[in-house]
Symmetry: C2
Subunit: 131 residues, 2 copies
DNA sequence: TATTGACTTAGAGCTAACTCTAAGTGATAT
DNA sequence: ATATCACTTAGAGTTAGCTCTAAGTCAATA
C-alpha cells in the first residue's frame, strides 16, 4: 500500500482528479511523488494531507488559510507556535459559523412547526404575516 | 417607525446598500415602498424579510433557494405545504453542514492540544509526522 | 500494429454572490 | 444660487474555488 493513482485517491476521498491537480498546482498539497513516466503516485503522507484539506474545506476553511498553514509546516519545527495560533484563529471562525448555523436551524424548526400546525388545521389564525 | 432609508436599514442589519439593492433587483425582497422621489422607504415587512434573508444567508443558504421560497410565498396560501417541504430540505442541508463543522472543530481541538503539548515541552516525541 | 483508456499539461471558462463605477436626480445647508 | 450629499440606475468588474478543454504521452490489449 501507499502507492495510488489519482483516480484511486479521487475515489477514496471523493475529490475529483481536477480538484486534486488544482490543489497541487497552487501548492496546497506537498509535492506528490511521480512514477518514471511522470504519473502521480500518492504515498501515505500525500493522502493524509489531502484528507486533512478535505476535512477543513468541508467546514468552509479558506484555501488561502490552508496555504499559509502548509507554508508554515514546510518551514519546520520553528513554526509550531505560529501554526497553533493560526489554528486557534480558524477555530474561532468555525465556532462563529457553528453559532449561525445552530440559530438558523432553530429558526427553521420553528417555522416548520408553524407550517405543520397550519396544514394540520391546528392553527386557524393563519395570515400572510407568516412567511 | 416603519419608515427607513436604505442607509438606516443597512446600518441596522449590517448589510451594505449595494447588497440590499441587489437583493431587490433579483426579486429576493418584496417590492420595497418608495417615496414620491423614488427613494426606498422601508416598512416593517420589508425589514422583516431582509432580516430573514440575512439570517438564512449567514448559514450559507443559497440565494436561488431563497428566491424559490419567496416565489412560493407570493403565490399565497396554497403553497404552504411546498414551502414547508422546501424548508425541511434546507434544514437537512444545514444539519449536514453542522455535522461537518462540529467534526472539524473537534479535529482542530485535538491538533491545538497536540501543539500545546509540544510547545509546553510535555510531549518530547515531536516529529514532522505531526502537521 | 492499431486502438483504447488513463494519465499529463497549460490555460480558458464557469458560478455564486456580491461590489464597484459612472452618470444622474433632487432635497437641504451656506 | 450653489454646493453638498444621499440617493438613484444600468451594467461592468471582482473573488473564490473549482471545472472543463484541447492537445499530447504512454502502457496495455485486440
Amino acid at each position: 500500500m501507499g502507492e495510488m493513482t489519482i483516480a484511486e485517491v479521487s475515489k477514496k476521498y471523493n475529490v475529483t482528479p481536477d480538484t486534486i491537480r488544482y490543489y497541487e498546482k497552487i501548492g496546497l498539497l506537498p509535492t506528490i511523488p511521480r512514477t518514471k513516466n511522470g504519473i502521480r503516485n500518492f504515498d501515505e503522507q500525500s493522502c493524509r494531507w489531502l484528507e486533512f484539506i478535505k476535512c477543513m474545506r468541508s467546514a468552509g476553511m479558506e484555501i488561502e488559510i490552508l496555504m499559509q498553514y502548509i507554508s508554515l509546516y514546510r518551514k519546520g519545527k520553528s513554526t509550531v507556535n505560529e501554526r497553533k495560533k493560526l489554528l486557534e484563529g480558524q477555530r474561532e471562525k468555525l465556532l462563529e459559523k457553528q453559532k449561525n448555523i445552530n440559530q438558523t436551524i432553530e429558526r427553521l424548526n420553528y417555522k416548520i412547526e408553524l407550517y405543520e400546525e397550519i396544514t394540520s388545521g391546528k392553527r386557524k389564525d393563519f395570515t400572510e404575516e407568516i412567511f
